[in-house]
C-alpha cells in the first residue's frame, strides 16, 4: 500500500484527469494554471455551466488563493448551435431567421449585419424610408439589450427591484417589435433589400409612448443605482482593464468605451444613414465595472435622441428596393399575374443568386461590433458565413480583467462585459 501523504507533505499532484473533468490533458492544464494548483496550495473551483450569474451556459474554471482569483479559464461551447454551418445550406433569405438566434437579446442588430452584408455583395441601394425605420428599430433593439443587461447585472449584484423595473419597460419595446414583425423576440423583420413590409398603423403612437415614458424611467434607475453607496462599493475600481489591453483583446462596444476608447461603428463606419443623425458616443475613463455601467446608461439617452430624430424626419416612399431580382413581387400582383406567381415561387424555392466575392459588414449592436462575413460563390447559397460576435471578444478579456479580483466580484465583472452565450458559441 502506498504511503499516505501527511498533512505537511504536499502530494505530488492533487489534480488528475479524472477529477479535473475538462476536455484537456493535464499537460495542457499545466500551462493554464499555476504550479501551486497541483500541490493543493491553491484551489480549482468550477463555476457553471448551470449558474444563475454566468448569463447562460458559460463555464469558468477558477484558480483561487483564498478568495483571490489567480487565474480564470473560460470553457465555452455549451451552446454551440452550428449556426454558421447551417447557413451554408440555406438560401440568403432563409438565413435571416438563423441570425436572430445568435445574440437573442438584439435580434434586429444581427439581422442588420447579415442583410447589410448581402446587400453589400449585391450592391443594392436601400430606400431611405427603410433605412430610417431600420435605425429606429436598431436603437430600440439596443435599448432592449441594455435593459436586459441592467436587469440581470443589478440582480447579480443584489438589486432585485431594478430587475422588475427593467423588465416592465422592456415589454413596451417588445410591443413595438410585435406590432411590426408579429413576434416579440425573433423578429426577422429586415429583408435583403429593405423590410418585410411597411410599418403598420399605430407604430408611431407606440414609439412615442416609449419616447415619452423613458426619460423618467431612466431617472428611476439612476436614483436606485447611480449614487447608491452599496452599488458603488461593488463596482467602482473593480475589474479594471486599461485602454491598451482592451484594444489588444479586441473588445468593442460599451466594454471598450468604458476604458476610454472612442470607437463606435456607427460613427467610424456609418451604415444605414446613421450619419444623418446627431448623437454622441459616451466614453468612460477608468475602465472599471462602474464606468462600463455609466456608458450603457448614457447610451439609453443617445438612443432615445436618435429615435426621436428619425421619427420626426421619417420620409415617405417604398420600403423595399425596386430590383425584382431580389425583391418579391407585391401580393396583389401575385393574384392576377402568372409571371409574378412564378417569380415569387422561384424566389422562395431557389432564391436569388449573389455574385461571387466576399464582404464584411459590421454594425454596432448593444454589445459591440457585430460583423458578418460572407463568402459568396455565385449561387443562391453562401459558401461560408462567419459572424464576428462582440461577446466572444469581450469574453476573452475576462481572464485578464478578473486576475487578482475577489471571487465575489466575478459576477459583477461577467455582468459588466455583457456577454450572451448564444453569440459567443453561435
Amino acid at each position: 500500500m502506498a504511503a499516505q501523504p501527511t498533512l505537511y507533505e504536499a502530494p505530488e499532484s492533487v489534480l488528475t484527469e479524472s477529477n479535473v473533468q475538462l476536455d484537456i490533458t493535464i499537460e495542457q492544464l499545466k500551462k493554464l494554471v499555476s504550479p501551486r494548483a497541483f500541490t493543493g496550495e491553491t484551489m480549482l473551483l468550477n463555476m457553471g455551466p448551470q449558474h444563475p450569474s454566468t448569463h447562460g451556459v458559460l463555464r469558468l474554471l477558477l484558480e483561487l488563493d483564498g478568495e483571490t482569483i489567480i487565474s480564470c479559464i473560460p470553457d465555452i461551447g455549451f451552446l454551440h448551435t452550428g449556426i454558421e454551418k447551417t447557413h451554408e445550406g440555406k438560401t440568403y433569405s432563409k438565413g435571416i431567421p438563423l441570425t436572430d438566434r445568435t445574440d437573442y437579446l438584439a435580434p434586429l442588430s444581427n439581422n442588420m449585419a447579415y442583410v447589410g452584408c448581402v446587400e453589400k455583395l449585391l450592391d443594392l441601394e436601400i430606400p431611405l424610408r427603410a433605412q430610417y425605420i431600420r435605425v429606429i428599430l436598431l436603437e430600440l433593439t439596443r435599448m432592449n439589450s441594455h435593459l436586459v443587461w441592467l436587469a440581470t447585472h443589478a440582480l447579480d449584484i443584489g438589486a432585485m427591484s431594478v430587475f422588475l423595473y427593467c423588465m416592465r419597460e422592456r415589454e413596451m419595446i417588445l410591443d413595438v417589435f410585435e406590432l411590426v414583425a408579429g413576434a416579440r423576440m425573433m423578429t426577422s423583420y429586415f429583408r435583403v433589400g429593405g423590410l418585410w413590409r411597411d410599418i403598420p398603423a399605430g407604430f408611431a403612437e407606440l414609439v412615442q409612448k416609449v419616447l415619452d415614458i423613458f426619460p423618467q424611467r431612466l431617472m428611476e434607475y439612476e436614483k436606485l443605482l447611480k449614487d447608491n453607496p452599496m452599488w458603488k462599493e461593488r463596482t467602482v475600481g473593480i475589474g479594471v482593464i486599461s485602454k491598451e489591453d482592451a484594444i489588444a483583446y479586441g473588445m468593442t462596444g460599451p466594454s471598450l468605451r468604458g476604458s476610454g476608447v472612442n470607437y463606435d461603428v456607427r460613427k467610424a463606419y456609418p451604415y444605414n444613414s446613421y450619419d444623418h443623425f446627431e448623437f454622441s458616443v459616451p466614453v468612460g475613463s477608468n475602465g472599471d465595472v462602474y464606468d462600463r455601467y455609466r456608458c450603457r446608461m448614457e447610451e439609453f439617452h443617445q438612443s432615445l435622441k436618435i429615435i426621436e430624430q428619425a421619427m420626426k424626419r421619417l420620409p415617405a416612399g417604398p420600403v423595399m428596393v425596386d430590383n425584382r431580382k431580389v425583391a418579391p413581387p407585391p401580393k396583389h400582383e401575385i393574384a392576377y399575374s402568372m409571371e409574378s406567381l412564378i417569380h415569387h415561387f422561384k424566389l422562395w424555392t431557389e432564391g436569388f443568386s449573389v455574385p461571387e466575392g466576399e464582404a464584411y459588414f459590421a454594425v454596432e449592436s448593444g454589445k459591440g461590433e457585430f460583423g458578418c462575413y460572407i463568402s459568396a460563390n455565385g449561387g443562391p447559397k453562401p459558401r461560408r458565413v462567419h459572424f464576428r460576435a462582440p461577446s466572444f471578444y469581450n469574453l476573452q478579456a475576462l481572464p485578464k480583467i478578473s486576475r487578482g479580483c475577489l471571487i465575489a466580484d466575478m459576477v459583477a465583472i461577467i455582468g459588466s462585459i455583457d456577454i450572451v452565450l448564444g453569440e459567443v458559441d453561435r
Binding site: Q50, L79, Y165, M185
Partner: protein, 160 residues
C-alpha cells in the same frame, strides 16, 4: 373568515390521499433557475413584471437542482450540454417533472444540424412540450398550468 365564508359551512371534506397530495404538489412547484438560450429570456419575462408567474404559486426559482422539482429546459441543448443537463436532472430529488420549453428543446426547432440534440426527450423524460420559438410567456404559463393538471391526476405510486 375567508374560505369558510365563501364556501359556506362545509363541515367535513373527504377526499382521497392521492388527490390531496396531488393538489398540494401541483400548487407548490419549485422550478429550477436554469436557462439555456433565447427561451430563457422569455422565461425571465414570465417571472417578471407583466406576466408575473407568482400568481400561480411558482415564482420560487431555485438555483440548485437539489432544491427544485421542475426543470424548464429553456432553449436549445447542444451535444456538449446534454450530459450536463442529464446530471442536473439526476440531481433533482423526486418527484420531479420536466417542461421542454420551445421548439429547440421539443424537437430541435430550426437547428436540424450536428450540434443540437433533436429534442431534449432524447436524454430526459418530458412531461409537457411548449411550442413556439420562443414561446410567449402566456404559452409557457399555459404549459405550466397543464403540468399542474397532470400532477393532480398522477397516481401516488408513480413516485416511490
Amino acid at each position: 373568515m375567508g374560505l369558510e365564508q365563501k364556501l359556506g359551512d362545509m363541515g367535513v371534506v373527504t377526499t382521497s390521499l392521492e388527490k390531496a397530495i396531488g393538489w398540494a404538489r401541483s400548487n407548490a412547484i419549485w422550478p429550477m433557475l436554469f436557462g439555456l438560450a433565447c427561451c430563457a429570456i422569455e422565461m425571465m419575462s414570465t417571472q417578471a413584471s407583466r406576466y408575473d408567474l407568482s400568481r400561480f404559486g411558482m415564482e420560487l426559482m431555485r438555483a440548485s437542482p437539489r432544491q427544485s422539482d421542475l426543470m424548464i429546459v429553456a432553449g436549445r441543448v447542444s451535444r456538449k450540454m446534454a450530459p450536463v443537463l442529464r446530471t442536473l436532472y439526476d440531481q433533482m430529488p423526486e418527484p420531479k417533472w420536466v417542461i421542454a420549453m420551445g421548439d429547440c428543446a421539443s424537437c430541435g426547432g430550426v437547428f436540424n444540424n450536428y450540434a443540437i440534440v433533436q429534442g431534449v426527450d432524447e436524454i430526459v423524460p418530458v412531461d409537457v412540450y411548449v411550442a413556439g420559438c420562443p414561446p410567449r410567456p402566456e404559452t409557457l404559463i399555459e404549459g405550466i398550468l397543464k403540468l399542474q393538471d397532470k400532477i393532480k391526476q398522477e397516481p401516488l405510486k408513480k413516485w416511490q
